[in-house]
């Protein structure tokens, strides 16, 4: 394996036992930093009867209290304004503001120093290098460049790698496609929803086949689609390009990535992050592969507003296989499988919206868009699935296949409604395809990053 395969040929091939030593020492360092520089963290640990000195082994880490997003909301809009007392640096050291999307409630503000932004782009550099980005690439980034972190750090990382970056900011979709064509862009970063949307617009509104463009790799983030095999296949088929998954979050950082081998999972950057998987029922830390649980994550080097044992609510599982790329960073099988707060009980069965997407996108003849509505019919739950038929496809040829596959993959029956191609809502960035009307107030999915 050539050292050119890796962004950091030492860290990425460090044996797991040595990675754990590194993680433990870095965990102690960030814990001490937070304890001595943030009133919020000091109070949190004091209330648990712990100081950093009490953490003397890797096993002790789980004693440290977790941080929930609601706790971060609770401290905001207080001094030092607007971040509150989790801030570990003087306000004048903060050089960048971002916030979470806030679709589950009050947005969480994220202060970063210039060093933190260097760190953000460093983490993204691991991602892009592993996915084959090199200085010869011309990278087109079609996102809104605003208060959401999205692809900002991807932009800076691509620059750091030596790529030429084209910011596709406020252009509309057709203008972006024309610019990609005009400049022979070779790579792109966007949400899966927008990758499919761009392909649709190019092909059906502009008469441009995306496969005829020069895009050869696409990095996705913000939605689970690039980890859902049927959605990934659709994107790859539409663009004639490799599509890679990546996961990060505003409060966390860019913590995992698919490498160029596409191993059906993502590597956790274990040099920069400590990932623990917690059993949803017992709360015990899961070490063995193949058992799903909730991710508790620590960003080991993020300084202004540390992320220590953050309850991300992402559902993940360790993979039993090592990746043939040679990285010792462990794989999470299938990427992020869902979110603990997304999984809903319908008719007594646990339903993950991602499993419906997997089925719909696997059926040729159905369009990319769909919508799921859960409501009550009398006392019983009902799931309505709206799908689009591609032109000249007959409903009778699809209906039974769709119903059977849904039953097989989700153990549930659906009221299926077919619509003409192009009639369901289109999304420009992140989609809102799942609606649970049983709740008094509909809570939309919190989006990452």
């Amino acid at each position: 394996m050539s050292v050119q395969e890796y962004w950091n040929p030492i860290l990425e091939t460090l044996p797991l036992e040595k990675l754990k030593v590194l993680q433990f020492k870095k965990f102690k360092r960030i814990l001490s930093w937070a304890y001595t520089h943030s009133k919020f963290h000091k109070a949190l640990y004091d209330n648990a009867g712990l100081t950093p000195d009490d953490i003397s082994s890797f096993d002790d880490i789980k004693k440290i209290p977790k941080v929930e997003k609601s706790m971060m909301r609770g401290i905001q809009n207080k001094d030092p304004f607007p971040y509150g007392d989790a801030l570990c640096v003087p306000l004048e050291e903060v050089s960048a503001f971002r916030q979470t999307s806030g679709t589950t409630g009050q947005p969480v503000y994220q202060p970063d120093t210039w060093q933190d932004w260097e760190w953000w782009s460093e983490c993204w550099s691991f991602v892009l290098w592993a996915q084959g980005y090199r200085p010869k690439d011309r990278v087109f980034i079609p996102f809104g460049y605003n208060i959401f972190v999205a692809f900002w750090a991807g932009h800076y990382a691509a620059e750091k790698l030596g790529c030429e970056v084209v910011p596709g900011g406020v252009l509309d979709t057709q203008s972006r496609i024309l610019k990609i064509k005009e400049l022979n862009a070779t790579a792109m970063m966007a949400t899966p929803t927008y990758i499919l949307r761009m392909a649709d617009v190019a092909k059906n509104k502009m008469g441009i086949d995306p496969k005829d463009l020069f895009i050869n790799k696409i990095t996705c983030a913000g939605e689970p689609g690039a980890g859902i095999s049927s959605t990934k296949k659709r994107m790859e088929a539409a663009w004639g390009a490799k599509v890679y998954d990546h996961s990060g979050a505003t409060e966390i950082g860019a913590w995992s990535y698919e490498c160029s081998r596409q191993p059906c999972g993502m590597h956790v950057n274990e040099a920069m992050f400590l990932v623990e998987i917690e059993d949803l029922n017992t709360g015990e830390i899961i070490e063995e592969p193949g058992r799903k649980g909730k991710m508790i994550i620590t960003a080991l080097d993020r300084m202004a507003q540390p992320c220590i044992r953050f309850d991300s609510k992402d559902i993940i599982q360790w993979d039993s296989e090592a990746c043939e790329c040679g990285r010792s960073f462990r794989l999470i099988r299938g990427g992020v499988l869902g979110r603990a707060d997304d999984i809903t009980k319908v008719k007594g069965v646990l339903l993950s919206p991602a499993s419906i997407e997997e089925v719909v996108r696997s059926i040729k003849g159905l369009g990319d868009e769909f919508e799921v509505i859960v409501d009550k019919q009398g006392d019983a739950d009902r799931i309505k699935l709206k799908v689009e038929l591609m032109p000249e496809v007959k409903k009778s040829n699809i209906k039974n296949i769709l119903r059977d596959q849904l039953r097989l993959k989700t153990n549930l029956g659906y009221q299926i409604e077919f619509y003409d191609y192009g009639s369901l809502p289109r999304y420009e960035v992140k989609a809102k395809r799942f609606k649970d009307l049983r709740k008094k107030k509909t809570v939309e999915k919190e989006c990452r990053p």
């Binding site: 460090l14 030593v21 590194l22 120093t113 210039w114």
Partner: protein
Amino acid sequence: MKNFSNLNEMNDKILKVKQFLIELEAMAIEFPAISKNSKRALASTKMMELNISDIVELDLHDSI
């Protein structure tokens, strides 16, 4: 794990660069063009530390 014979040498140079930048920043308090660029360069230097110095400096034979 890949082996690099010049890892310590690279680390020494990173730490020297860091020291120079700290000194430069301190010298240039009344010269924003130097102090602010030094500070920014220190942030980049920190990334080199995270990539190499942590490994060199930490005794990876420690037990956990």
